[in-house]
Amino acid sequence: MRSVTEPSHINDPEAAAVDPPPPVLAIASLSKSFDGPGGRVTVLDGVSLDLRRGETLALTGESGSGKSTLLHCAAGLETPDAGEIRVAGQEIGALDDRGRAEIRRTRLAVVFQQFNLIPSLDVGANIAFQARLAGRYDAEWTDDLARRLGLDAHLGKYPEELSGGQQQRVAVARALAPSPALVLADEPTGNLDEATGDVVLDLMFELVAEAGAALLLVTHSARLAARADRRAHLSHGRLA
């Protein structure tokens, strides 16, 4: 059993060396627009925010307010038009596809609303996948995660044999297995009923806190947002 206060597995030199710790995620003047049917649509318009280790931030907003886009940019899945994104101090806008993939692999983890899992791998392999990919696989920690998320009975099953709630628990376990500095979650319970969603979210908050990671939770629900340390509301591409 590992200690909550001394997360021994946090061995990221960049995260630990600086004092005071720099933000795990630092977004400055981020802008992004898409080509829509009626012309160019600005989705993000000069958004800035910081997120530090141990912090949780809920990003709320209407559908289409740009909150998912912000998360995708933060995860290096999309490139912004303007502005700066630093993950663990590294400016990812300057990176190429390869570099961004490495950031995704080693610095952060994403939990999506659905289809998080690799259908061809069983639950155990899915949970361990990113950690092993990042070279930070810790069997003890991974087993612990699975057990805490109630997945230890399902490790040999394949994703399609699981319920939606179980699948999202696997996603959470996988996200936390490499002990990332930053967890990005995009409506992680949006596809689940309220009770199931609450259980998954409780576990996620608990484990993120335990790991000392930073969490950016994108949701449209004020109820869920209330659980985060900080809240930011995105409206028409700007933070309110």
Partner: protein, 797 residues
Amino acid sequence: MTGPALSAILSHWRRQPGQFLTMILGLALATALWTGVQAINAEARASYDRAAGALGGGTVDVFLRDGVGFQDADFVALRRAGWRVSPVIEGWIAAERGRVRLIGLDPLTAPPGTEAAAIAIGDPSDFLTGSGQILAAPATVDRLGTVPLDAVSARGLAPGFAFADIGIAQRLLDRPGEIDRMLIHPDQPMGLPDPAEIVPGITREEPQTAADLARLTDSFHLNLTAFGFLSFAVGLFIVNGAVGLAFEQRRVVFRTLRTLGLPVSTLIALLLAELLAIALVAGILGVGLGYLIAAALLPDVAATLRGLYGANVEGTLSISPLWWAAGLLIAFLGTAIAATGTLWKVARLPLLAPARPRAWARASMAALRWQLAASGLLAVLAVGAGFLGTGLIGGFALLGALLLAAALALPGLLSGALALGAHFAKRPLAQWFWADTGQQLPGLSLALMALLLALAANIGVGTMVSSFRLTFLGWLDQRLAAELYVTVESPAQAAALLEWADGRATALPNWQTDTVIAGAPGEVLTAADHATYRDHWPLLDALPDAWDAVASGTAAMVNEQLARREGLRPGDMVDLPGGPVTLAGIYSDYGNPKGQVLIAPDAFAGRFPDAPRQSFGLRVAPGEVAAIRESLATEIGLSPQRILEQGEIKRVSRQVFEQTFTVTGALNTLTLSVAGFAILTSLLTLANMRLPGLAPVWALGLTRAQLARIELVRAMLLALLTAIVALPVGLILAWVLLAVINVEAFGWKLPMYLFPGQWAALGGAAMGAALLAGLWPARRLARRPAADLIKVFAHER
């Protein structure tokens, strides 16, 4: 609601134009290869019939007189006695390019159906009188040029033959007053006298030529048909895959339509209409394509048939409405076969079944067990056919069962191999690679089966052809031992030659006559008592001192095909005109469809006193060939065309041989291309389905380029595994071809040689095909907008 329903169903194709193209092209290719081969076969058979008609041997009886032939006076005597007969003389004439068979006939008395006579009668003055006229098929006219006189091209004539009036032909062949045979008009007057009283020694023969050619060439055409069928099957794999995929992808649409109140019968009817339209378009395309294939291959087929069987086939293709109809029918049939299962599923589609493509894939994996069981059953059947089946059909049944068994077993074998790979994989990416490849298998298995069939056929046929080539060339070197082969013009010249040769060269009588051996047409050859035969003749089995026995005149050798056909072994007795002889040995005789008997020259002269004895092989010192040639011309007056050098004969034989398998090679390549196409289309259609499998890996930190490379490696790995499975299948195929089909078709068995270099090349080709096929989908993946992948996480697809 039929209209909106139809447009909902069809809207799928607007969004998936590639899939639509796949389906059309797959069906079109299947139809094309099938109809192309059928067209070639039909054209060849029509040519045999024409040839038979041209010779008058195919439709009417003929009068013959063994060894002697007829004179003009015999013809006149028969006519004056009331017999409606028509004279024919035949022989080779030198043309501008090669030799052409000249048929001399009398258009005034030729029986109905003699096409050349009917054409000749259109311009009787030129054909019958003066310096005469030669009629020939257009291609033959090209060969003839202006030698020996102006040739007129006429359509509908048998190719390879030149036709002239009997009088002109007698002059051109320098055989005045001679007639080889007489065609008997089917409508004869009442009360005719016995023809033997008019012309002693005359015999009446039934038509044979067409049937003979058909029998001889049957195996060749069966080969082509088998290839056409294989290609068709490969094409059907593509269509079946495309139809099944389109069904899975439209399952939501079907379900919604049903929920909205569309009766299942209407839905089926709409899908049927859609399939019919697709079959029609693909069928028309396929028949057109088939025509191109046939037109491209026919000259080679014609060359093969001429070289192998002496059967003449016109190098040009005629196209008939029947052909179109048959092509379309096969397209419809193919669609029906490929779509039946899918339509059955639609009919039983549960209204509330969720759209789970992966469940389909998993169900397919479950089908592996059934496939393996079926494969085992087929393998048993194949072995059974091998033991019990007789004849060509049995051989091909064996092949069919064998190939199908292998195809059905393939997914199971691949699945096992991939599981093994996954078991030993240590790194997460490798684990994912093996696991994901296994997951992709159901979607690719049809294409891989197609590849397996193509590869196995390639290995099998390649091994057969190469084994044949090695054996044939070796045999040719043995058989053609004499340095020069000459044919003299008269018995007097033959005597002169023997006198001339005394002391300068050894003249080996090389006489030959056609006769009936064991009830079938065959030929008798001579072998002198000489070291040439003892040292070089390729014996398969023989009594001790076999050559001494032959030289004594009491024994004979027979070729392998005759021995096999009649079940003869050394020591048995063989019936020959003039009494039976002991069988002293059996020799191999590749490329000859007829039974053959080898006896001593004296025995030949005794048994066939009327047969010409004017061909000789000359053994001379190698350095003296040119001088001897010269001396033969100046001292005996032998014209240069009557002297052939060993090297020339070998060169021509090799040419014939190489040409023989050009078509097989072309069909092989085509089949492999179709299989490559099957892989491409499968990968393309799978590309969209695979996004949910790839997006998480991408989100977890792999670039699209990395994923694309992995996808390429995956396709090549599958191709390689398939090639490995194909190797033993192909070798069994080769063995069946060499030891079963060849014996049945040609009457000789060939030793099997192995060509690992060929296999490596073919494995490379398979992986190359997979690489080419995978390149486009991989490139598309590498350049895919991130949004497409992100969408996976946000939308119900």
